[in-house]
């Protein structure tokens, strides 16, 4: 991947976007997340990595309440995440999410996938929603596929549509859960490029990924998780060249050493 160092142009404010304090989660008896403390500032790009099963997905799914946490607090844009449905809806409409398996709606066209939530949740007029959708489809470089169905697109295209679909809700924060790990190698770049572009525009991003090139280029901070805990976090340069904990070293040697 041809990389230019974009980092200096991307600014991080000192306004807090997400504040997680002493958050714990259990699946039945199983303690998945332990005492997670994390503060994300507006405009920050965070990459989360760690071995499979370490709780990365669970962590970011807690942020938009796809999973319920049992202890501690999560505050998104000043709204406290509780079991109050009003708060959950408010947070979900401000937080966009992209999944490993895209999860596009197969019975709707690409355009309908993108306009559905703005029309029904934001009550945007149809015409305006379609204009917005076309704008973002152009941004992810697939406006010509607008009237096709997801099943007719390649994986990379589907993931870019999924990103556009989230952006149509004008989210202030984007969560990505391994957006490229279900893709064939030649499609990974097109999705990463879209994400890099998003980062350059100052979107606050939390991204679970093992694409270390992406982490180096875009992230302000890399977080390493293991066994439900945040083991280490640092700026990408420092994180990769000088990992502190043994578990991080082992993980990096496994992931970079093949």
């Amino acid at each position: 991947m041809a990389m230019t160092d974009q980092a200096p142009t991307m600014t991080v404010s000192d306004e807090v976007a997400i504040e997680i304090q002493k958050m714990n989660k259990w699946y039945g008896q199983f303690h998945v997340l332990r005492d997670i403390d994390l503060t994300v500032y507006r405009g920050e790009r965070i990459v989360i990595c760690g071995p499979s099963g370490s709780g990365k997905s669970t962590l970011i799914r807690c942020i938009n309440a796809l999973e319920e946490h049992q202890a501690g607090s999560i505050e998104v844009d000043g709204t406290l995440l509780s079991s109050d449905l009003k708060n959950i809806d408010k947070i979900r409409s401000e937080v966009g999410m992209c999944f490993q398996h895209f999860n596009l709606f197969p019975h709707l066209t690409i355009l309908e996938n993108c306009t559905l939530a703005p029309i029904w949740v934001r009550k945007t007029p149809k015409k305006e929603a379609e204009e917005t959708a076309m704008h973002f489809l152009e941004k992810v470089k697939i406006p010509d596929q607008a009237n096709k169905y997801p099943g007719q697109l390649s994986g990379g295209q589907q993931q870019r549509v999924a990103i556009a679909r989230s952006l149509c809700m004008r989210p202030r924060i984007m969560l990505f859960d391994e957006p490229t790990s279900a893709l064939d190698p030649e499609m990974i770049k097109e999705v990463l490029d879209t994400m890099i572009e998003l980062a350059e525009e100052g979107m606050t991003m939390l991204c679970v990924t093992h694409e270390m090139g992406f982490a180096r280029q875009v992230a302000n901070r890399v977080i390493f998780m293991d066994a439900g805990q945040i083991v280490e976090q640092n700026e990408p340069e420092e994180f990769f060249s000088n990992p502190k904990s043994d578990r991080t070293k082992l993980f990096l040697s496994q992931i970079l050493g093949h």
Partner: protein, 434 residues
């Protein structure tokens, strides 16, 4: 090998594509088709010959019976005289008695009303079945049940109008409350409609028909019979059981234990009881539970039972469809901020229903045919008509085959139509995934 291979260290590289070969002989020609499909071995040849013999034998019985049939006669005796011992059906019974087979004892002067209702039904169904028709036609679909009721049962149009007003009132109650809780609003809306029907519709309808009559000759339910009653029961049963089935399927998935429990008990109870038992309950038992003096039409009672019965099965069919969807679909809908009812209506149900189309159609066809069971609770549907008035008459005593074949044909036409429609629908809805 090729002579271009001069450098021995280079592995073989094919430079041209192998041209397409013509298909093997077994793929073309009638003779080859016969050989590869019907006579490819000695046992297969024997089976083919046996099958041909069987088909010949069957048609040698059926074809003369059909084509040599008598269509014009006044009685079975007359038929036999005309046939003079030759094989042939006595179809005269159908040309003579078809009004009874179709309309039962509906007054002959009012047949046009039933026919008009049938035509109206097709117009009302069209926009539901074919979604590229103008959406405005759905207004007629919404009005049709009330029009059809008035056409078939007659009486004052005001009854239908105020029944409709009751529904509109229920809708406004729903609209007023839907912001707060969608589910609560539905329940309140249904309740409002029911109250309106019970307390306001009769009084208002009476009052207004005293001023402006607008009446058709009233026809009691016991005169409605023949295929018409099968059709009324079948269409209302299917139309009503689909929404109820969806509600039950969603209820069964609910996180609320009480709702889930009610749905599970209901579905399992209905599935564990034969339809005919429910029909007996409708015909005799229900009267005991009603306050004395209330008349609760038998046709209505049967429609309710048939609906409940089919709804339980449809709920299970839809549950299968719901289970086939990945969790990702729910999560994507949630993460976009859609609420429960929006994600059900826009994302989950369209896909689940599409998956369950074959099973739902199965249930619909089964329901339609099961409406003939009402002949057992002495309603004169098409089979009741055949068994009762027609076969016991002196003229047509013993003409079973012709009448049953006719009844079978009527059902076949509609059931085959439903089945063809569903296959067309599946092709239409196929958006290239899965």
């Amino acid at each position: 090998m090729s002579d271009t291979q001069t450098n021995s260290s280079v592995a073989f590289v094919q430079t041209e594509q192998i041209p397409a070969s013509p298909p093997p002989a077994s793929e073309v020609g009638i003779i080859n088709w016969l050989r590869s499909n019907l006579f490819y071995s000695i046992p297969s040849s024997v089976m083919t010959l046996l099958a041909i013999a069987f088909i010949y034998w069957l048609s040698s019985i059926i074809l003369p019976w059909v084509f040599n049939g008598v269509w014009d006669a006044s009685s079975i005796r007359d038929c036999r005289d005309q046939l003079q011992g030759a094989t042939g059906g006595c179809f005269a019974v159908i040309s003579e008695r078809w009004p009874q087979l179709i309309f039962g004892n509906y007054p002959a002067d009012e047949y046009w009303r039933a026919v008009l209702a049938l035509i109206g039904l097709f117009v009302a169904l069209a926009p539901v079945l074919f979604f590229n028709l103008p959406r405005k036609m759905l207004w007629f679909t919404g009005l049709f049940p009330f029009i059809a009721y008035w056409l078939i049962w007659g009486g004052s149009l005001w009854v239908s109008i105020f029944a409709l007003v009751g529904v509109v009132a229920g809708f406004f109650v729903f609209r007023a409350l839907s912001e707060r809780s969608f589910f609560g609003a539905i329940v309140a809306g249904l309740f409002a409609t029911l109250l309106f029907w019970i307390f306001l519709t009769p009084t208002l309808a009476n009052a207004l028909s005293a001023v402006i009559p607008l009446t058709l000759v009233s026809v009691e339910s016991r005169f409605i019979g023949g295929f018409m009653i099968n059709f009324i029961l079948g269409t209302s049963g299917i139309a009503l059981s689909l929404p109820l089935g969806i509600a039950l399927a969603l209820g069964r998935q609910s996180n609320l234990p009480i709702i889930k429990g009610i749905c599970v008990v209901f579905i399992e109870f209905i599935r564990g009881v034969p339809l005919i038992t429910l029909l007996f309950v409708a015909s005799v038992m229900l009267a005991y539970f009603l306050p004395p003096g209330t008349t609760f039409d038998l046709v209505l009672r049967v429609i309710i039972m048939v609906t409940l019965f089919a709804a339980a099965y449809i709920a299970e069919a839809i549950r299968g469809g719901l289970a086939a969807l990945s969790r990702g679909q729910y999560e994507a809908a949630d993460s976009l901020g859609l609420d429960y009812w929006q994600s059900m209506r826009l994302i989950i149900l369209p896909q689940a229903l599409k998956i369950s189309i074959p099973s739902i159609v199965n249930i619909a066809i089964g329901l339609f045919k099961d409406t003939t069971l009402v002949s057992i609770i002495s309603m004169f549907d098409v089979l009741g008509m055949i068994q009762g008035p027609i076969l016991s008459s002196t003229e047509w005593f013993g003409v079973y085959w012709e009448l049953l074949a006719f009844a079978g044909l009527l059902f076949f036409v509609f059931c085959y139509g439903i089945s063809q429609y569903s296959q067309w629908l599946e092709r239409q809805l196929n958006t290239g995934h899965r």
